[in-house]
Symmetry: C2
Subunit: 528 residues, 2 copies
């Protein structure tokens, strides 16, 4: 049942996540002496007593089989919260108050439909649990303290249901994690091409429910753009969506389910566009004199239909920090900012695209740094969350936030968010380091992804909450989106309501009321 | 007020729409002797008395100015119905029962908001009227006979509001027609690249409200994929959507408004992605041995990211008919089917794409037919609706319908729809000609566009209704969409409800009730 993720850290313990000596030196230069921070042990923490009564548990056991209904402490704790820094801080402090009362593991779509019905009948909150990687409070529903909460662990929905080679689509069950999806598709010579930083633990259903976007989005597109069909278990029964790649048959209702975070139903199956697995992968880094010039280069490429598979540009601070760490990208010195350009496809296509992009980047004052650093970036692309744990072990708090807007507003957005983060954290007595990169580009705009590190005081969660609120206000003032690929959850709800306005809120609430009359589907999430 | 479209035909009378002698000969070969069919004159028809009382008209006049509230017979008739063949048959028969009671011409977004409020207060149905080109009953609301119907003519919302060169977007008011939009953008060296067959008369707001797709969709994309922002006048006030190109902030609510056909509100402004106007346009035709082989070639191109600006493939019947008409595409003989490949962009890009596509098509048994026929196709691309009028003047009924599905289902869909149309029309005593082409392709599937011509009996609208119903049943049996780019309107409602299922219907009704509590927004359209 479920994956091998650590209950209060990212990944499993087999992953070496201690810091190299050189990094510790650097950190102490920035933050002064570091002190080891203790973290609660699994054996020390205790979830609250199970709220579900025996009759309900018996009903669930007779539906799913006794093995697939767990009230075991460890299982419950392992399905508590997601993996945001506030989540980890709470878990490290031994706070497992958000633990579900039971963890249910349905094996079929029909079982999910049936258990939503049971949950509705008994007014028990239902939290869909894919990989458990939410960083926005998506796994922390309201409703605790009333009739209880169950997590629906989707890991038994693990099949590649169909490969339609002619249509270039695959139908995959929601519980399949990123690496397993790639493994199953590789047997058919195919790839999904979706590699968010959470890839190793995140699930297909979660990608859809949160509108995930991966590091190769320039080439393969966002996850929502890959989805052509969905099967959803709702309180009203089964909802099948997707009769054609695109159409004019009213609003695109798939787009109502994508990003719905379990509030309207549980996605159990996704039909996605797939691609032939690439023959060749080549990653190269480029140096630009400034973040502004690098941004202009990205915009120039994408507005001229030059779309490498990966495009990623670090600002000056992120470039400097990465250069300072010999295990990271761009070991060569020289100032400015680094861009990663990755190319995947047939040898011929990669060759041609790379030639064309390279010529363009040279004309825009880019200087190639060769393949070595690019290869290192690709090898370490899923590594940052492990590093976060190692830093938190020493009292350094790391968290990320992200947004997106149109190109003409990008610079103002960058400045506003950076200033908001820095000033607010300084106001808490911390010495913040704020890094930023662009990793998703569109013809009309781009994302900004901020990484923040600071020396936590006794209340690091409050420090971060203040910084996050200030950054979110700045995002709203700039008219940008509160989230480009992390979703709304509970953490973004306040600013999300402002973003979609009272009419948007009204529309969502109407759909929620129609789809979830008992209000049991991930309550408190998404709907302002 | 409004455009110069004829009240019961397509286009204006200055357009020569008579048939060449050669075509008449061909038609008589197919259908036997043709007889001229009389059509009602504008001076002979009379709309019903205005249902609105004077107090309401005064309220509207004081909001919009007396000049912008018309109850003139001709103005009302010119805003009656759209341009489907059933619409034209009704109008030719002098049936103007669907005429609105008044035609209102607001000059600002705020006026649209205010008049929706007035309409709600008095329970008057409101029909947004852009170019009047609906072919699915989108301009024929229920509600006539109660408190009346007003058409909101959007033609005074005619501004290019903003060009954001850096973000490559333009903000355009809803009433701007296709050619005017291109003219306004051309002043900035830009193009929208949206050229549906209705281009000459259809409006920006209508493109958005119906999810239009143009003949250059392979290169420029569907209209819904171009939209990054919307301003909507609703019964709840102003709704602004679009904070970033894409994001994870919940369901994409823009996609709830796109395709909503005025049922949730009136789109008054659209922010769209634009492109640099192409330096070069080159259109070429290719011959393939069969429709099946041509289809495989299209699929091969698009699944390998080879996307000419225009891709269009006629089946054997359409190819033959086009070849038989010396004014149409593909004058050279030789059997098989014709594909149009169009390339637009910089000279270098067109050259490279054309080389790569041509090599691929040759490898797939395509034989280039050169540029001449392609140029002729491009020149005549908006001509078919004029031809329809000329044929109807002789008792030959022409109508189209379209659908889309995934590649692996395309052949079965083609066969099923063709057989349904032919058998049903033969059952009415007609001799049908059924033509088909593919004009919109995706990695995962494609559209099918059928053109049907038959010798009408005394009840041609009923003949067509039976054929359309049979084709629609066939589409549903195949699991395809009831419309790829014509929208739902009233004509598709029955099959649309089946397509989205009871849960989809429930979701739409919930949004409708929330957004339009008085039920006055284009009632009867879209919502099953």
């Amino acid at each position: 049942m479920s994956n091998d993720m650590h209950w209060s850290r990212w990944g499993d313990l087999s992953h070496g996540d201690d810091l190299p000596e050189s990094a510790i030196g650097l950190l102490e230069l920035a933050f002064g002496d570091l002190r080891p921070v203790r973290s609660a042990r699994l054996t020390d923490v205790q979830p609250r007593p199970v709220l579900l009564d025996d009759a309900v548990l018996d009903e669930l056991r007779s539906l799913l089989g006794a093995d697939n209904v767990s009230v075991d402490h460890e299982v419950r704790i392992r399905h508590t919260r997601g993996k945001s820094t506030p989540d980890l801080l709470a878990m490290r402090a031994g706070d497992v108050a958000a633990a579900p009362d039971a963890v249910l593991s349905p094996g079929t779509h029909e079982e999910v439909v049936a258990l939503i019905e049971i949950a509705g009948h008994h007014r028990i909150a239902v939290v869909p649990y894919g990989g458990g990687t939410s960083v926005v409070g998506g796994l922390t529903p309201d409703g605790v303290g009333e009739n209880g909460v169950v997590a629906i662990d989707l890991s038994r929905l693990d099949a590649l249901v169909e490969v339609d080679v002619e249509s270039s689509t695959a139908t995959v069950e929601a519980g399949v994690l990123g690496p397993r999806a790639e493994e199953l598709l590789a047997e058919h010579g195919l790839t999904l091409g979706h590699f968010p930083q959470s890839f190793e633990y995140a699930s297909i259903g979660g990608f859809a429910a949160t509108r995930s976007s991966g590091q190769s989005s320039s080439g393969y597109g966002r996850f929502d753009s890959m989805v052509v069909g969905l099967k959803v278990a709702t309180a009203r029964g089964t909802w099948d969506l997707g009769t054609a790649p695109a159409g004019a048959a009213g609003p695109d209702l798939r787009q109502l389910v994508l990003g719905s975070e379990g509030a309207f139903g549980v996605i159990t199956q996704v039909r996605v566009a797939v691609r032939r697995a690439p023959e060749v992968k080549a990653y190269e880094t480029w140096r630009f004199p400034s973040f502004a010039q690098g941004r202009d280069a990205l915009r120039n490429l994408v507005q001229d239909d030059l779309n490498p598979t990966v495009l990623r540009l670090s600002d000056e601070a992120e470039t400097t920090l990465n250069l300072a760490d010999p295990d990271s990208v761009g070991a060569a010195g020289g100032g400015g900012v680094l861009m990663v350009c990755g190319y995947e496809g047939t040898a011929g296509r990669v060759h041609r695209m790379r030639d064309e992009v390279s010529a363009r980047l040279v004309s825009l004052d880019g200087v190639s740094q060769g393949d070595e650093a690019g290869r290192r970036w690709a090898a370490g692309r899923f590594g940052a969350p492990y590093l976060r744990d190692a830093l938190m072990d020493r009292g350094v708090i790391v968290e990320t936030l992200e947004t997106a807007t149109f190109w003409s507003d990008i610079e103002a957005l960058y400045d506003a968010v950076k200033v908001a983060l820095e000033e607010t954290l300084r106001g808490t007595g911390a010495t913040p380091i704020v890094l930023c990169h662009i990793s998703h580009v569109y013809r009309t705009g781009a994302s900004l992804y901020f990484t923040v590190a600071f020396d936590g005081n006794e209340q690091p969660a409050e420090q971060w909450q203040r910084a996050k609120a200030a950054a979110s206000e700045a995002i709203r003032r700039c008219g940008a989106t509160i989230t480009h690929h992390h979703a709304v959850g509970r953490d973004h709800l306040h600013w999300y309501a402002q973003e979609i306005g009272p009419i948007g809120v009204r529309a969502l609430r109407a759909v929620k009321a129609a789809m979830d009359p008992d209000g049991v589907l991930n309550p408190g999430v998404l709907i302002p």
